[in-house]
Symmetry: D2
Subunit: 346 residues, 4 copies
C-alpha cells in the first residue's frame, strides 16, 4: 500500500547506502574516533558557518533531546517548550526521566510566541518566591515544528534575544531541518539558524539517513566529558562509522539540501492536491508535513488504500490527519494519491 504516513517510511537515500557499502571493509576505530567522523564534522562546520563548532552523531531525535537537555541543565533547572513541543508531548517523559521539568508555554501553531516567553520570564523573576520553583534553564524550539510550521528570522531573532537577555541557552530541534531550509516560505539560512542557536541538531533520520542526528554545540558550550555522558545514556555507538559515513555523505555535494528540496517540492504538489479537492487544512504548513481535516467516514475509506497518520480529533465527526513527504516521495506516489482521493472521496 502507498504510504504518506511519515517521512521515515523508506530506508536511506541510495547514495548513503552506496557509501556505507564502499567504506564497509575499511578498518576504523570505534566510538566516533574514525576519520569519517572528522570529515563529516568538518563539512558540517563549513555548511553552518561555525568553524569551531563541536559536533556529535547520535542515533535518534529523542535520544539527542534527552542528552542535550539533561546534560546542560543545572539540577534546579527545567526546559521551556511550547505545549505541543516534542519533548513535552511525545517523548514519553524522556526529559522528566532525567530529573528535569518541561516548563510548557501555550504555543501558537506549534510555536512559542516571543511575547509569551518574555512575559513568562519576567513573571518568574518578578516573583520573590522562586526559590521553591523550577528555574528556566533552556528554551527548546523545534524548527520546523511538530505542525510543520517555521519560525521566521524575526521570530528566531526575538527568541534568541530573550534567551541571551536571561542568559539561558536556546536549543533548536532540527529533526526536519532540511525540509525547513528548503521551504519557499523560509527566510533563514542555515548559518543564521546556527548563529541564533546555542545548540541544535541537524536531523538525519527524517531527512534521508537510516538513522542519525548531528548534534551541534555552537558556542564552546559542550558539556564536560561529553563522550562519557553519551556512553552513560547508552547512546554511544561502537561502530560510530555507521553514523559518520551517513552524515559525511549527506554533507557531500549538497545532498542534505537536495533531499530537503525534493521533499518540499513533493509537499507543494501534495498541498495542491488537497486544495484542488477542497479538503480543508488544519493549519498552513510550509514544510513536508501537511495536516488536513477529514470526515471520519472518508478517513476510514481512505485508510484502506493509503497510509497517513492520525493526529487528533477535530470534533465528534472529523479528524486531523497528517500526510508527509520525504526524499523518497515520487510523482507516481502523488498520482496514485490523486486517483485514490478522487475515487474514494469524489
Amino acid at each position: 500500500m502507498i504510504s504518506f504516513a511519515s517521512d521515515y517510511i523508506a530506508g536511506a537515500h541510495p547514495r548513503i547506502l552506496e557509501r556505507l557499502a564502499e567504506t564497509n571493509l575499511e578498518m576504523l576505530p570505534g566510538y566516533g574516533s574514525d576519520r569519517y567522523t572528522d570529515s563529516a564534522r568538518e563539512k558540517i562546520r563549513e555548511a553552518i558557518g561555525v568553524p569551531d563548532a563541536d559536533i556529535f552523531f547520535i542515533t535518534g531525535g529523542t535520544q539527542t533531546n534527552q542528552l542535550v537537555i539533561s546534560t546542560m541543565l543545572g539540577n534546579t533547572e527545567g526546559v521551556i517548550s511550547a505545549d505541543t513541543g516534542h519533548v513535552n508531548a511525545h517523548e514519553a517523559g524522556a526529559i522528566e526521566y532525567t530529573g528535569h521539568k518541561v516548563l510548557s508555554l501555550p504555543g501558537k501553531d506549534g510555536k512559542i510566541v516571543p511575547e509569551t516567553l518574555k512575559a513568562y520570564l519576567e513573571t518568574f523573576y518578578g516573583d520573590e518566591n522562586h526559590e521553591h520553583m523550577v528555574y528556566p534553564g533552556m528554551v527548546y524550539i523545534s524548527w520546523p515544528t511538530e505542525y510543520g510550521t517555521l519560525y521566521s528570522k524575526a521570530e528566531l531573532d526575538a527568541i534568541s534575544g530573550i534567551t541571551q537577555e536571561y542568559r539561558i541557552p536556546l536549543y533548536i530541534d532540527g529533526a526536519r531541518l532540511g525540509y525547513g531550509l528548503m521551504s519557499p516560505e523560509n527566510d533563514v539560512t542555515l548559518q543564521e539558524l546556527a548563529a541564533f542557536a546555542d545548540m541544535f541538531y541537524i536531523g538525519g533520520t527524517k531527512v534521508g539517513a537510516l538513522a542519525g542526528e548531528a548534534l551541534v554545540f555552537t558556542k564552546h558550550n559542550t558539556p564536560d566529558r561529553f563522550i562519557t555522558q553519551i556512553k552513560q545514556h547508552g547512546a554511544l555507538n561502537a561502530k560510530g562509522r555507521f553514523l559518520s559515513v551517513q552524515f559525511d555523505t549527506l554533507f557531500t555535494d549538497g545532498l542534505y539540501f537536495e533531499i530537503g528540496r525534493h521533499g518540499i517540492e513533493k509537499a507543494e504538489k501534495l498541498k495542491e492536491i488537497f486544495r484542488e479537492r477542497n479538503i480543508p487544512f488544519f493549519l498552513t504548513s510550509p514544510t513536508n508535513q501537511q495536516f488536513v481535516i477529514l470526515e471520519n467516514s472518508s478517513m476510514e475509506e481512505l485508510s484502506k488504500e493509503v497510509e497517513f497518520s492520525f493526529w487528533e480529533k477535530a470534533g465528534p465527526d472529523r479528524t486531523v490527519v497528517r500526510f508527509a513527504t520525504s526524499w523518497s516521495t515520487t510523482d507516481e506516489h502523488l498520482a496514485m494519491l490523486r486517483e485514490i482521493l478522487d475515487r474514494v472521496m469524489g
Copy 2:
C-alpha cells in the same frame, strides 16, 4: 594499518548491506511495527526454541543493558554483577544513572563463581538489617565475558538454580553470543542458554551488524508498556526496519552462526600465532577476544604497525593487550600479523 583492536572495526556483513539495499524502498511503518520485525522475531524464536518469547531490537549493548535492568528492577533493588562485568566497569555508570546500584561480586576470569553468589545471597537474607540495604534484584552475567571466557553448562545451571531459588531473574549479556556458541570449548546450545536466562540479548553490533541487539524476554516477563519505556530512554528508532532487516538477515540461512564460526576459526589461528612465538596469554580465552601480555617496549614498537587494545597494566614493564577477531578477519590479516610479529619482536 591492519587492526585487531576490536570486533567492531569493520562495517556490516555484506549480506546485511545487500538486504538493506534490497528492502530500501519498501514503504514500512515505523517504530518496530514493520513486517521485518515480525519476521526477525519469528526466526529468532525458532532459533532459541522459545515460541512465545518477546523480542525487541535495540541499537546498542549499553542501551540494552540499561533498559532491561532499569525497567525490571524494583526501586529498592540492584543488579548483581562480577566486578569486571561491563555494567559495573565500562558503561560509565549507565545503571546507576537510572537509580540502581550494581552489587559487584569478586569474579574469576570475568565470571561470577556460583558459590560466591550463593554465599552473598545467604548472607544478605541472613542479615536481619537488610531493610537499610539494596536488595539483590537480578543477576547479570555476560556470555562470553569481557575476558572472552565462557560459563559452562554446569555453571549456568548452578547460577540459574540459585536465581530461581531466590526468585530473582537471570540476565545474560550476549554482546558476543555468536562467538561463544561457536567456540570449540562451548558445551551449551542456544536453546539451553535461552532456557537458563530470564532475559538475554543476542549481540548484533559485534557479530556482523552495523548496530543492533536483539533483546529477548523468555518467560512472559516483559516490563509493562515496554515500547513506551524504550521511547522514554530515547532508544526507539523511527526507522525500526534498520534493525529488523539486519536481524532478519542474520537469522536467515544461519548467517549469525556462520559469522560466529568464522570469528572463532580466525581466533584459533590467532592463538596459534601467539603460542608459536611464546607470547604469554593473560588468561585462556576460548572465544574471539585474546588477551596477551607484552613487554612495554615491544608493545610500543608493535603499535606502529598493527592496532590492538590496551587492557590493563601487568606491572611496571608489561601490559595486557587485547586482539580480537570478527566476521571480517581474513587469513591475509593473520599472515600480515605473523610477519609483523616476527619482524618487530623476533
Copy 3:
C-alpha cells in the same frame, strides 16, 4: 513584629512539647518501630475509620509527596495535578527529580474541575498514539488547596469516581487538613475523605507539630518494602519517636481537630477584619489562608508593621498577598492587626 505570614511561624502546640518532654528518657527503638508509632497509628486508624490503613510518619510535605508519587507511579506514568498544585508549582521540581512528569490541568480556584479531568482522560485514551506519551498514573489534589479552597463532597465523589473508572489512584495532600475539616463550609468528614482517597496525608507541620506528616495508605496499597524506599529517599528518621509522639498527641483527646477549629475561628475573624475595611479578596477561601489584594503602596507601608506573604502580582499597581492563621493565632494578634490596618490604610 506580628506575623500572619504563614501557619508555620510558631513552634509546636504546647501539649506536643509537653509529651516530647515526658517521653524523652524512654528507651525506644529507632526508625519507626517504637511504641508511639504503634499507638499513633492506631488512633489515626480509628479517627479515619480505616482499621487496616498503613500509616507512616514523614518529616515534611514535599518529602511525603515525592515519596508517595515516585514510589507508586510506574515508569511510564505521571501524576495529574491542577496547574496551581503544590507538586506542580512550588516544590522545585521534586516530582520530576524522581523521573516523573506532572501532568498539569488548568484549575479553578486551585481545584481540578471534574469535567476537565474526565475530558483529559477520555482524550488521552481516545488518542491512538499514546505509546509515545506519559500515561496518567495518579491524580493529586490538595485539600484544602494552595488557595485555601475546598473540594465539596460532591466534587470529591466525582473525582474519586473518575479515578476508579480509569483505575488510577487518588492522592490527597492534606498539609492543612485540620483547617479544612473544621471549616464552616466543609461538608466532608475525615472518614469520607479517607474513603475517597487511595492515599492521603494528614498534615502536622502546619497544624501544630514541629514537623511531620502522617502518610496513610487506605487500600492495602503500600508500595513494596516501603521502609527501604523511605530510607532511600533519605526520609527515615533514626529517632522516629520524634514524629510518632507528636502524632500520638495530636490524635489524643481530639487535639488535631481542636487546633483546626482554633485556626478557623481566627480566620473567620480575620476575614471580618478585611471585609469591614473593604479590602478586596482575591478569592473566597473558607479555610485558614486568606488572599487579599492590596495597592502596592499600602502593601509596602503595611509590611513595615506586620508580616504577610507575597503571592502574585495583580496588575502593575496591585498585589495578591496571603494572611494565614494557625493554632498560635490569638485575639490579641487580630486586635493588633486591626489597629495597624486602621492606622496605615485608614
Copy 4:
C-alpha cells in the same frame, strides 16, 4: 528493658527541649531564614574556625549525604567510599538513587587506607580507557566510622593531600562527630578536621538532638541555588527553627562537646565491663560504639534482658553485636548491664 542498641534510643538532651519550649511562641520566618539559623551558624563558624563557612541544617544523615553527594558530583562522577561506608552499605542505595555510583574501596577497620586510595586514583588515570568509566568525583569518609574507629590526624592529612592532588573534594560524614572529638585516642581538633574537609556535617541526631545535622561547606563551594536543591530533595523544613534552635543550643556553652565527653566516658566504662568479663572485642573502637563477639546461645539469653544491635555473623556459632552509649547513658544503666552479664553469662 534497658537498651544499648544505639545512640538514638533516647530523645533530646534536656537543654534542647527547654530551648524549644522557651522559643516556641516566637514568630519566626520559615525555611531557614529565622534568627536562630543565623545564630547557630555563627556559633558553629566560630567553633570550627572557618569564619565564612556556609552552613545548612538538614533533618537526617542519609538525607545530608544524599544532598551533598548528588548536588556536588558532576554527571559522570561517582563517590569513593570504604566498602563499609554508610553510603555504600546501609543507605538503601540513596546515592545511586540520585544517579551516581559509589566507588567502593576495600577498607580496614571501617577506614579507607590512604595508599589504597592513591593506588586507585593512579590506576584510574593511568588507564587510557577511562572515557567509559565512572570518574572519581569525591571522597567520602565517616569520622568516627561505622565501626567506631577514627582516622588519625596523619591519616586525614594523607587523604586530604591525595584529594587535593587529584582536585576532588573530601567529604566527612560526622554523624557521631562529637564522640570522636572527645575520644581519648583522638588527635584531631574540630578546627583541623574542618580544614581537612571540603564539606562535612556535624551530627546532631546521634549526639543529643531530636533530629538534625549541620552541613558545612568550608571552601566557598556550596552548590548553586542550594536552598532550591534542598527543597527539590524534599529536605527543606517549613519550621526551620526546629533544627536551628537545636543547633544553637548544642553550640552554646559547649553542650555539643559535653555530650560527646559524656558518651565517651560511659563507653570507656562499657569497654571495661567487657574486658573484665573476657568478652572479646571484634575490633578496637575508641568511640561510643563497641563491637563484641558473643556466642549465639549467650546472645539469645542476653537479648531477653538488654537491647543491643546485631551486626554480622562471626562464623556459625558466634555473632558480632554492637553496644552504644550516648548522652543519655547513665552509671545506673552500666550497673544494670554488669549485673545482667554476670547473671546470664557468668
